[in-house]
């Protein structure tokens, strides 16, 4: 993805085409807004804040979008910007995207994540609770509070721990699903399977976990993975497709070993 950079500090004017939808039951439509005097140092969400203040002042209803930490870690934010999940910058959530990535006069199309498993609640806000259900199907290690041995009882190779961390870095934003033409949740699901698979603590439940999480993913109505690689390209945490290969191996291994 090419990133254009606006090096100057000059304020810009942009045209925004934004998806507006009152609630899950109603039909939505694109609406046009002007974003005036946008500083290149603003974040994309700060630009929307300013537009929203204008809308409120003129008696309208502000554009609803999800956000919270504005630091790229909570996974709340997520917008399709000109057809790209989280916008033009690589490895970046939309809250960390800055307006210096746009130029004066640009038209910016802003839409919600689109996927059957992520129904729209309002405007740019969707319901991603399917992800929670995938985790609750098996994305954990079954250890009750108080059962744990000493933290240093099992040495874990630095590399395994680093690899596990790479997968565990997923923020659950849903960009992978939004960008995939099949709306597959394979990257999300596999990142959790890989995180727990790469650590010895995850071993006892590995077969069960893979089977149950994959089953839940299918049940939620996500599509299947056809190796398009779009998910990896837009993932703000740069989680790789290797996770998906690992998940497939885990799944097959679990099937072969005959575990339910």
């Amino acid at each position: 993805m090419a990133t254009q950079t606006n090096g100057s500090k000059k304020p810009m004017n942009l045209k925004l085409l934004v998806w507006r939808q009152k609630n899950g039951m109603s039909k939505g439509a694109m609406t046009t807004y002007e974003a005036k005097n946008v500083s290149p140092d603003m974040s994309f969400l700060e630009m929307l804040d300013v537009v929203n203040e204008d809308i409120i002042k003129s008696g309208g209803e502000p554009i609803a979008f999800e956000h919270d930490c504005r630091e790229g870690i909570c996974g709340s934010c997520g917008l399709m910007i000109n057809g790209v999940a989280h916008g033009p910058d690589e490895g970046t959530t939309v809250c960390q995207l800055h307006m210096r990535s746009f130029k004066d006069g640009d038209t910016v199309v802003i839409e919600p994540w689109r996927a059957r498993a992520f129904p729209v609640i309002k405007d740019l806000v969707v319901d991603r609770s399917a992800f929670d259900r995938i985790i609750s199907a098996g994305g954990y290690i079954s250890v009750n509070t108080g059962q744990a041995p000493d933290g240093n009882a099992i040495p874990i190779a630095k590399q395994s721990s680093e690899d596990a961390m790479d997968s565990a870095a997923c923020i659950g934003c849903g960009a992978c699903v939004a960008q995939c033409k099949n709306a597959s949740a394979a990257l999300f699901t596999s990142a959790k399977i890989a995180h727990l698979r790469l650590l010895p603590q995850g071993d006892p439940e590995r077969a069960e976990r893979a089977l149950r999480m994959v089953a839940q993913m299918d049940e939620e109505g996500f599509g299947s993975c056809s190796n398009e690689g779009e998910c990896e390209a837009v993932c703000p945490k740069e989680i790789g497709m290797v996770n998906i290969s690992l998940m497939n191996r885990e799944y097959e291994r679990a099937l072969i070993s005959g575990k339910k």
Partner: protein, 663 residues
Amino acid sequence: MNNETIAPAKPAETEVEHGGLGDKVASPFLDSKVPSGPVSERWNKAKFEMKLVNPANKRKFTVICVGTGLAGASASATLAELGYNVHAFTYHDSPRRAHSIAAQGGINAAKNYANDGDSVYRLFYDTVKGGDYRARESNVHRLAEVSVNIIDQCVAQGVPFAREYGGYLDNRSFGGAQVSRTFYARGQTGQQLLLGAYQAMMRQVQRGSVKLHTRREMLDVVVVEGKARGIIVRNLVTGEIETHMADAVLLCTGGYSNVFFLSTNAKHCNVTAAWRAHKKGAFFANPCFTQIHPTCIPVSGDYQSKLTLMSESLRNDGRVWVPKAAGDKRKPSDIPEEDRDYFLERRYPAFGNLVPRDVASRAAKAVCDEGRGVGDSGLSVYLDFGDAIQRLGEDTIRARYGNLFHMYGHITAEDPYKSPMRIYPAVHYTMGGLWVDYHLQTTIPGLFALGEANFSDHGANRLGASALMQGLADGYFVIPYTLGNYLASEKLSKITPEREEFKVAAKEAQERITKLLSIKGTKTVHEFHRELGHIMWENVGMGRTREGLQKAITQVAALREEFWRNVKVAGDADNLNPHLEHASRVADFLEFGELMARDALHREESCGGHFREEYQTPEGEAQRDDDHFAYVAAWEWNNGDTPPLHKEPLDFEEVHPSQRSYK
């Protein structure tokens, strides 16, 4: 003033003070329930003396847990494992979004894996001293004791903590400590700990022992026969007001830094849950104790919506400096060594760049006040990695702080590998919170507060990497015991949602929402919030004075009055409306901000994060007044009139108060 709650029940003949100096007479309403005996044996003793709920009976009890951050998720998971029926609430779309996710640097534990002289006692000692002798010794000791279990638990859950080449857990050091006791997972420690607790909780969701209620905002606590028996929540998607009953309610709702508008907290963090509980009778303790974090990215423009923290761990390798001469506008690379003032190393040679947060923040403010600040606004100082990169190589620095450098680069469009970062202090954490006893119970029986929402362990200043520790200590290892004791000791009557208390509370919550939408004024919620933040930052921020605080009290009251007359809230109450949610939270901040200023005004001393300019040593360090102020200030709601102050005197049996010295 908008008083929509019923007045808390209060005995008529209470003798309490209304602010001002005074001796430390214990309030009869504050029984800290601290066990007797040597501090190191108290927790064991308390655990032994606590009543137990028999395993088969646990499922007969319903517990409401509001909040799914570290404190809430760990409590919900653990209580469900024990067999309780748990209902967990969050205003987020998923429990995993709680603000805890954003913690970067690490979590402390007295493991002494580094073999550098750490111990439970030292962590206890450092925390009491770091808190500037305004915390309860017994609580802090318990925190240090269970810290070691937390790490074990998290490792077992699969938290990918950083490791050394031998495969053992790695540690780093944080401000206010001379040992390495901080465990971390890259710069995403909070994320990984929260995911661990979240996953443990989701496992219980699968088993049906935790019922999850997302996109629900708690608007009131329902008190029946003097005990917390439920909550009122608003379904944020449909706008419906719901009533939920329970045998006990846990508030794990985080801190209130956003009263300053700009802070490092996530945008939605707020005081509503704690404040509504306060209005139902829970005392609010030390509200003025707020922490200003020294290493944040400076403000860049009016549109700024929040401030971004750069983890304190950066101070392990970064050196803080400004030019020696005021007005020196040269590029940092053009300023030679002899023209630089490494002011922390100069003023505090023993701790250098690793002094506690309050000390580092004030020192940065002082050099900026002298006109030596850098950047366009003059409101920032350098955090320089030049030496560290030369000594260790860029790769090592990248491995340690890669994601932080990346984030900095993204926000500022500057490359911190090439030129020093610019940082400035920002509001970050609130030590104050709901008053709780040793059992984490508020002054409303059956209402408990955990994590950042309570006041308990950090005194007037929190040490880095200790909030995560406290949240998880409260949730995994303290509440499972103390809640059991409460449920086993109390006789709770059978109730239904048809009771008057539930109906009244639900009606009031609904009316308040209707009122907000009906004002249709001219000023937006955002404008009110920003204005409030400005008043708070200027007067109740890093340096506080009598005049400033008095001014703040009047200004906040005036702004609140204007809010209820002139706020413009867009949209309706029957669909998702983030703007309305914000309005309701700002309304509470507008009441709470006044209490903060009052508390700061009454505390005529400087301690930890509370710096009263009138009370400082000749060297400009905070001057405590232990004779008059070694107490917890717990405020009672008084229907909007001057709130009565209750005092819990603090005894220091182990760590004897001295002027904190980091020289």
